[in-house]
């Protein structure tokens, strides 16, 4: 293994940070979902890097589960976005304040 695991971890942390930045700065719901996907991918990269380092394929199983859950989350979240857009005519998260948030 010529590339140390910490390089992969650093890439994963940077991806996670970019995801957080997307969620904190953008207001378009769809871009927020993309930020969540970036964070999930950063987590997956961490799982796989440690899995490689320990020589154990449990990390692969975790990453598999994360990918499947991300698919379900994207489907439900985008359906909610569609419903909100029909209701409000906008995908700006600041417009959605029916719960007084």
């Amino acid at each position: 293994m010529s590339i140390p695991i910490s390089w992969y971890l650093l890439v994963a942390i940077i991806l996670f940070g970019i995801g957080i930045l997307a969620i904190l700065t953008r207001r378009n719901v769809i871009v927020l979902f993309m930020g969540i996907e970036l964070m999930l991918n950063g987590c997956n990269l961490t799982f796989l890097a440690f899995s490689r380092s320990f020589g154990n394929s449990v990390g692969h199983v975790s990453a598999f589960l994360v990918i499947a859950i991300a698919a379900a989350e994207a489907a439900i979240g985008l359906a909610i976005t569609l419903a909100v857009f029909r209701h409000k005519g906008s995908v700006d998260v600041n417009e959605v304040r029916s719960l007084r948030g």
């Binding site: 940077i14 940070g17 930045l21 394929s57 379900a72 359906a79």
Partner: protein, 223 residues
Amino acid sequence: MEKVLFILFAGGAILSAIAVILPVMARTPVHSALALVVTFLCLAGLYALLAAHVLAVLQILVYAGAIMVLFLFVIMLLNLGQERTGPPKRATSRVLTSAVAIALVLLLTGQIFGALGTSVGFKTNPAVMAGSTGPDQCVASCLTREVATHPKKDARKICQTECWESFGSLRSVGRTLFSDYLVPFELLSILLLIALPGALILAKKNLDLPGSSETQLSEGNES
């Protein structure tokens, strides 16, 4: 060679991830989505470098294929050309949110590399790396087979190379998934089964929520 590929994929993933979120580079959500596809493809390359071949293929199939098609489909269904958002945020709030994000990243870096036993240097803790002699379970099961035909020292060497070569293959991942992690796998199938009609019902044209039919009628018809 491996290093060149790593730098290529990691740089591509980070740069395109930045392109996803920067409003300057991605003026419409479609641009963000296309940059996100590049990120996922680069990440699939990184997974392949980590010998996770199955996950690399799944990443391309599920993320770059299915999920991104879903994203683009919704973007085009909503007809979001230019972002119709309100007035731009004040500079102070932008700086504040960026500072919070950077602080979180630094915290994560400190925690993870602290747990590895080093500072942010690129060395790895020998105590952590000592566990990486090979896939232990695989070696153990292989040894019981090979000891019969080979001397013990040779058998261990054969098994270690064999297990490292099969690491991340469909066989080894599938064996773990369908033996020790069968219950989470089945629960996941139930989750997907629930998510499918859930998404269909939520995206239906006339969403009748119980108790909110009046507001639905008055506000829903305007938009």
